[in-house]
Every structure is written in structure tokens, then in C-alpha cells.
């Protein structure tokens, strides 16, 4: 689980072009949207694509993302339970 959290932090920084943020600046329970990392709606769509492409998880309802992308901790738990690859 710890490796997955680290992997997610690296992917989020790289794929969402968060150039001013270092991996160790993202705590496992930091909110990813709003006052946390400040991600926006396009970032949310990009995370949905990432779940599909890298972990074989298809979200049929984009609204599901709101809960799943709450934090790195929540994302890692969800991926561990639902991943198909």
C-alpha cells in the first residue's frame, strides 16, 4: 500500500503537470481538490483516465470520482480493492 501511495503521488505530479510540488509535500490525507493540491475539473477527468489506463478501473459515473479522489489514502484504498491490472 505504501508503494502504491508513492506511485500515485509520482503519477499525479507528472501527469497533472504540478511542477511546483514535490512528492514529500503531498501528505497521504491531504485533500486533492479545493484547498489541498488545488486540482480542477480537467484534472479530475485526467485521474479517471489514469484509473482506467493504469489500473483497469472504469468509472461509469464521473460523480464517483468526488469520493475516490478525496486524498491519496482514499485513492490507494479504492485502487487496491477494485484494480483489474
Amino acid at each position: 500500500m505504501s508503494d502504491l501511495k508513492q506511485e500515485l503521488k509520482e503519477k499525479i505530479i507528472t501527469q497533472l503537470n504540478l511542477e511546483d510540488i514535490a512528492i514529500d509535500e503531498i501528505a497521504d490525507n491531504d485533500p486533492l481538490f479545493g484547498d489541498g493540491l488545488g486540482l480542477d475539473s480537467i484534472d479530475a477527468l485526467e485521474l479517471i483516465v489514469m484509473l482506467d489506463k493504469d489500473y483497469g478501473i472504469k468509472l461509469t459515473d464521473p460523480k464517483e470520482g468526488k469520493k475516490i479522489f478525496e486524498s491519496i489514502e482514499v485513492m490507494a484504498n479504492y485502487i487496491t480493492t477494485h484494480r483489474t491490472k
Binding site: N17, L18, E19, D20, I42, D43, V49
Partner: protein, 207 residues
Amino acid sequence: MKVQQLKIKAYCSIFNNKVMLNDQLLFENQETDFSSFIKLAYKNMDTNYPKFFKMDDLSKLGFLAADILLKPLTTDSERANNIALAFSNSASSLETDRKHQDSIVDKENYFPSPAIFVYTLPNICLGEISIRHKLYSENSFFIFNHFNAGYLYDYATCLINTGKADEVLCGWINRDTDDYEAFLYLVSTEGSITHNKEEIIKLYTTK
């Protein structure tokens, strides 16, 4: 219509790994490719806007050149600035269109990126600038084969003389394969350079 002689208040270019404001060199780095150069230029200009890194190359070019010209005019004020935008190029958003195409060409590996797709129109660049500088003004992005000083001259003159805008940020922002070029100039009722087709061409060709 009140016809007045307009001026070019300031101009900026990003070309050949140099950033110029009027005839002053602001930044140069000949050791890097475009991607690294534009990030270094952004940092050197002290442009504090993290969303910059999410933009495509065309928007980065336009955003940075516009920011250099508009920052002195707009950062001290929360008011909506009546500065219109009239940009142009020849490649439209082709560089980003190609990236999007690459992501959808293989039906077995079909993962289009929303972050790339949103930049598959050249005028998104104008939106980025308008958000940054709180512009609620006219904006247009024209596609020409070559830099068209006469068209931009007529368009800017009409916007100001009909009261549609107080000032117009005009120019050419192009990005295609290994080439890039940004040249923007601010048309105003103030300034030292006469706004006419000949002066615009002179500034563009000597950038």
C-alpha cells in the same frame, strides 16, 4: 465614429530562445529546447501562475508574452480591463491536435487525455490570458498563411474607434513542430510609436 490616431504602447517577442520587451532583452537561453526554454523564461519573469505548466505550448507562448505586456497594466487592479485581444497564426492548434490524434489512433489503446483535448483550439490561449488579467473584452484568433499586419491594423483600429475596447493586444503566436514564434503589441491611444501597417511590419520583422 470618432477617428483618432492610435499608437503602439509596447511590444514583446519570444523567438530564437530570446524574450524581448520593446528593444530590451529580458531573457535568453540558447542551451535548451522549447519546452525547457519556456519554463526557464516563465521562472525568470517571476510569473507566479502554477496553471502555466498545464497549458499547451501555444498557450504558454501567448500567455507569457501577454503577461509581460499586461502585468504592469492589470495586476494592481481588480477592475475588468477593457483590453481586447486579436491574435493570429498559421498553424492553429496543430501541435496539440497531433498529440490528441496520437492518443486516439490505436483503438486497442484508446486513452484520449482531457488535459490535451481542451487545448485543441487556438483561442483557448485567449481564455487563459483573459482569466489571468480579468479581461471581459472582445477576443478573436485569426488563421492566416502569414503574419497579416494590414488585417490586424484594421481590426484594432475599428475596435478602439468604435468604443469596443480601450486598448487592443494584437499579434502572432505560432507553434508547429520545431518552430515557435510570438510577437505581440499593444495598441492604445498612448505611446510613442505610430500605429500603422508599416510600423507593425517593421517591429515584426526586426523582432
